[in-house]
């Protein structure tokens, strides 16, 4: 887990977008997502699936009608993220999270992970590979 300066954030966002556009395509295409849109949601984590072929962050989001909806945020695999500073404890149920996503089409409550913030921690979809494992 890292805390990023804005400049590094911009650079890594770009690198991450590039890496993701190749990486995610290995398992599936972007057909389900609206890649032209970026949406930011804030809510409370209800579950974190540290699973293959993709991680999922489940977030309870209260919409503008006051109704709480469950959002499913798909991220890279634990294998990929685990070599880049993430762990199964990077996201915990009960934490308040703000996530930027490529939303699912057809108004479904979900999307593809771009980046997230939990407190002062910024989570990126990629980073410098570590030689820790």
């Amino acid at each position: 887990m890292r805390i990023w300066s804005f400049g590094r954030l911009v650079i890594w966002s770009f690198a991450a977008a590039l890496a993701l556009s190749v990486s995610l395509s290995a398992h599936h295409s972007f057909a389900a997502f609206d890649m032209t849109k970026e949406q930011t949601i804030t809510g409370i984590v209800s579950r974190f699936d540290w699973t293959n072929p993709h991680t999922f962050i489940w977030v309870d989001v209260t919409n503008d009608k006051g109704v709480t909806e469950s959002w499913a945020i798909e991220g890279m695999s634990p294998n990929y993220l685990g070599r880049r500073g993430w762990s199964k404890n990077s996201v915990k149920p009960g934490e308040k999270i703000t996530v930027s996503i490529r939303p699912l089409k057809e108004g479904k409550t979900g999307g593809m992970f771009i980046r997230a913030q939990i407190g002062d921690r910024v989570l990126m979809p990629t980073g410098t590979p570590t030689d820790e494992r």
């Binding site: 590039l18 190749v22 699936d49 072929p53 469950s70 798909e74 990929y80 409550t109 030689d131």
Partner: protein, 264 residues
């Protein structure tokens, strides 16, 4: 009810017939022998391919025509295969109503050559007469026989084909034939049963491996398709478990429509 004696004589006759039929087939195969100490020692003189490697995703540096190689998206010139008119027409027909996703979304491994370009590491194991590549993506494995056996004349179609290899100085040259029709040369680009893949693996520096891959297919390709990959060694990495069915929420249906299951 036949007597036990009759059963025995029938069984013997069957065994003799089976033996007679089986002898030529068995004679064609190399006699399996346990590896010798000298063969184990000889491995130490080969280039050190051991350990865990990950493909880099720079420009692919391919040549051989325009098209849709996986690397083409990452920048640089298009590097896809150059198709014969017949296969260009087949590709065109597929692209007229292109599927939104490949069967990989349903966890079907891509097979060769796509499996060698996944964003996950692979581990090389050298034992006498065999190079084994353990591929993390989809938990796959390739066996490359370096014991001098020939390629099979009439191989069963396989996702990874059937591979034999030989060392040319410091380069491992691998020839592979016999691919499942469920694999593609590149996205939406089918191959014929004549497809052959030659890979040249070598170390370009102590922790960098280059793989030059040449695909030929007399029916499908107008010219050999040559592409290059660079892999980086990560000495401290280990291959992780990758069970695609663990929590796969992506899918593609028979009509090519992509789906995602977000039922919690």
């Amino acid at each position: 009810m036949p007597s036990s004696r009759k059963i025995r004589s029938t069984a013997v006759a069957v065994l003799i017939a089976a033996g007679a039929a089986g002898v030529p087939a068995i004679a064609q195969q190399a006699k399996p022998t346990p590896p010798t100490a000298a063969e184990w020692a000889a491995l130490a003189k080969l280039p050190d391919f051991t350990g865990v490697w990950e493909v880099g995703f720079g420009p692919p540096g391919g040549r051989g025509g325009a098209g849709s190689g996986r690397g083409a998206r990452a920048g640089g010139p298009p590097a896809g295969p150059q198709l014969t008119p017949a296969y260009a027409a087949r590709r065109q027909a597929r692209m007229a109503n292109p599927p939104e996703d490949s069967q990989a979304a349903n966890c079907l491994p891509p097979g060769m050559p796509g499996i060698m370009g996944q964003p996950y590491p692979m581990e090389f194991l050298l034992t006498p007469g065999l190079v084994t590549i353990v591929i993390e993506a989809y938990t796959q494995v390739r066996h490359i026989y370096t014991d001098g056996r020939p390629l099979p004349d009439d191989p069963d179609p396989k996702f990874h084909g059937t591979s034999v290899g030989r060392w040319e100085a410091d380069t491992l040259v691998v020839e592979t034939v016999g691919f499942s029709p469920q694999t593609d040369i590149a996205a939406n680009t089918p191959h014929s049963d004549k497809m052959k893949i030659v890979e040249r693996f070598r170390l370009s520096d102590p922790d960098t491996m280059t793989i030059e891959t040449t695909v030929t297919d007399a029916d499908a390709l107008a010219a050999p398709w040559v592409s290059n990959r660079t892999l980086r060694r990560h000495r401290a990495w280990t291959i992780a478990e990758y069970i695609c069915e663990e929590n796969n929420r992506n899918s593609v249906d028979a009509n090519g429509k992509a789906g995602i299951n977000i039922k919690k």
